[in-house]
Symmetry: C2
Subunit: 335 residues, 2 copies
Amino acid sequence: MTTMRDIAKLSKVSVSTVSRVLSGKGRVSAEKRNEIIKLANQFHYIPNYHAKCMTKTGVITVGLVVPDISNPFFSKITMGIEAELRDNALLILMNSFRDIEREKRLSLLLRDNGARGIIIGNSHVEDDFVFEISKYIPVVVFDKEYNLPNISTIKLDNVYGAYLATNHLIEIGCPSVVHFGGFDDLDVSIQRREGYKKALRKGMQPYVIPTGYDERSGYEKAKKILPSKKFGGAFCMNDLVAIGVLKAAKEMGIRVPEDLKIIGFDDTELCEVVTPPLSSIHQPIEEMGRAAARALLKMIEGEESTRSYLFSPSLIVRSSTLSIRGDQDAKEEVR
Amino acid sequence: MTTMRDIAKLSKVSVSTVSRVLSGKGRVSAEKRNEIIKLANQFHYIPNYHAKCMTKTGVITVGLVVPDISNPFFSKITMGIEAELRDNALLILMNSFRDIEREKRLSLLLRDNGARGIIIGNSHVEDDFVFEISKYIPVVVFDKEYNLPNISTIKLDNVYGAYLATNHLIEIGCPSVVHFGGFDDLDVSIQRREGYKKALRKGMQPYVIPTGYDERSGYEKAKKILPSKKFGGAFCMNDLVAIGVLKAAKEMGIRVPEDLKIIGFDDTELCEVVTPPLSSIHQPIEEMGRAAARALLKMIEGEESTRSYLFSPSLIVRSSTLSIRGDQDAKEEVR
DNA sequence: TATAATAGAACAAACGTTTGCTCAAAGAGG
DNA sequence: CCTCTTTGAGCAAACGTTTGTTCTATTATA
């Protein structure tokens, strides 16, 4: 690596003169200036980043730990974060591959490698660990609540989202609504189930079918359940499950939306692609990413100690929940 | 920020003793050792990363510039890269948002902020610029060919992929095959069109329908073209276009695969979700990411100057190209 | 008891920059 | 012709570590 000293020697000036030329500060004669610039180019001189950081304060870097960047949810979050960071900070990305130990290792690695803050997307790591990290650098976490200094939280109002979905089904005339989802292993499941129950009118019975999180799971449960009882609507805990249910319904000759109305959650791109297009609950994912980045920056700059955001989901109506009466309102809402 | 000096003062020892305690090297009495460790914890001491890098050589960081991480193609690539990097290097992620100027700025930013190498995913930046960067740090690019020192390239054999797809349609009995895709603005388009033409048998006429890259585009072109002429098969330049064509076909009462067989390209998750499931050409995306990371690391470590990889696509048969005769082979190949 | 080995700790140089200070030479003003 | 200002350049300290060297006090060996 070429250093300033090398260039100084070659051009027979002092290091400080080289520094002043290359940074454009201070007066240097045109003659030496040219000589120095020529040599710098010739030897592909790059100022040593770390040395620079010792005297000036360099560009902030922040770390992001996600389970799996290829999951659209996290890649959208990442987009939002990076868009907000823009030129204020660099983003170091790490996939935990859902391995708690790795997640811990990475967080420490980030802390010890100059990251000035960390965003943890959907951590399954112990609270204690997050707390420990937060003593050293600020942390933003998704989907959890900490009331601790130096930890900000970003959440979606899942209860409300589930309420919106279920309520929509009821309003367009479903006499009964079944809910696919709600294993108790994740907070989201519990919350969405809660919202579902809240929306049910007096006298309506809740039908909760514990389901996994993928298409196959939705498909299998639907195959079992749908023949046994006629439901007007189905609220599924995410789009994948909804697509599984949709597939099963079609195979069994149940028409969507005429016989059964289906709505998912997350509003992924898949919704637009299946037939009929799937209604869903939209999360402002990118906005949530931006908020996370903003919160972290604020904490790093020491302006604020903590922020907590609760984001509101919204209802996106597509053909899978079109009212049979050709409801104008519903039509309007279709993107 | 607490520094070693602070801790040294508080515990009335020299900085070097603190250093030796904290790094676990050299002999220090148990008494001072405990005192120092206690103070370090108490004040949340973090060794200054940049100072450390001045004397030891720290963890390598490399940069990744992609147009849009929320595009599944790039997020998968990223997965591969990061998986390969593992603990050997940190990954700084940057979205160019398809803005050439931003892409340039980012690359320079990376170079000047300690990145030891850069991976550029699908760059639209001028060759000269890539060349210029490569003088300073090694570069890996996708989908382009440079025969320059310090630049490695990763490519998919698009011609072969298109050949595979088209040939498959012909082999299962399509008397004619139409190709949706092939605007001349991107190399991939040109290459896939070339593969399509190569696969056509003597006497078969090429039908190339210039189409965009999204579902809507496929849908609109199909609506126009399909009624005018009866095709046995359709090879679409990507999955989205294929899904558009599929949708249009269904609406027009053209049965898939009975009346028309459709195959896409990229083998995205969408394929599994549409009805009928879509045959496609698979790219070993993650593997390509891993190769990129490996190539970069090799260049950084100075072991090799340049590597060029050409990856082979493979055919994934699903229901959208099932032979009408209930071909056993095809059945077998379905995931 | 004299000598050698060792433990424990400090000193100081080095890593590659930036920048305040100093200093000499040249030019300006009276 | 003498003093004052300006220009151009170097010196040296500082940033926060690491580590080879040195030094002293203690312990082990003969």
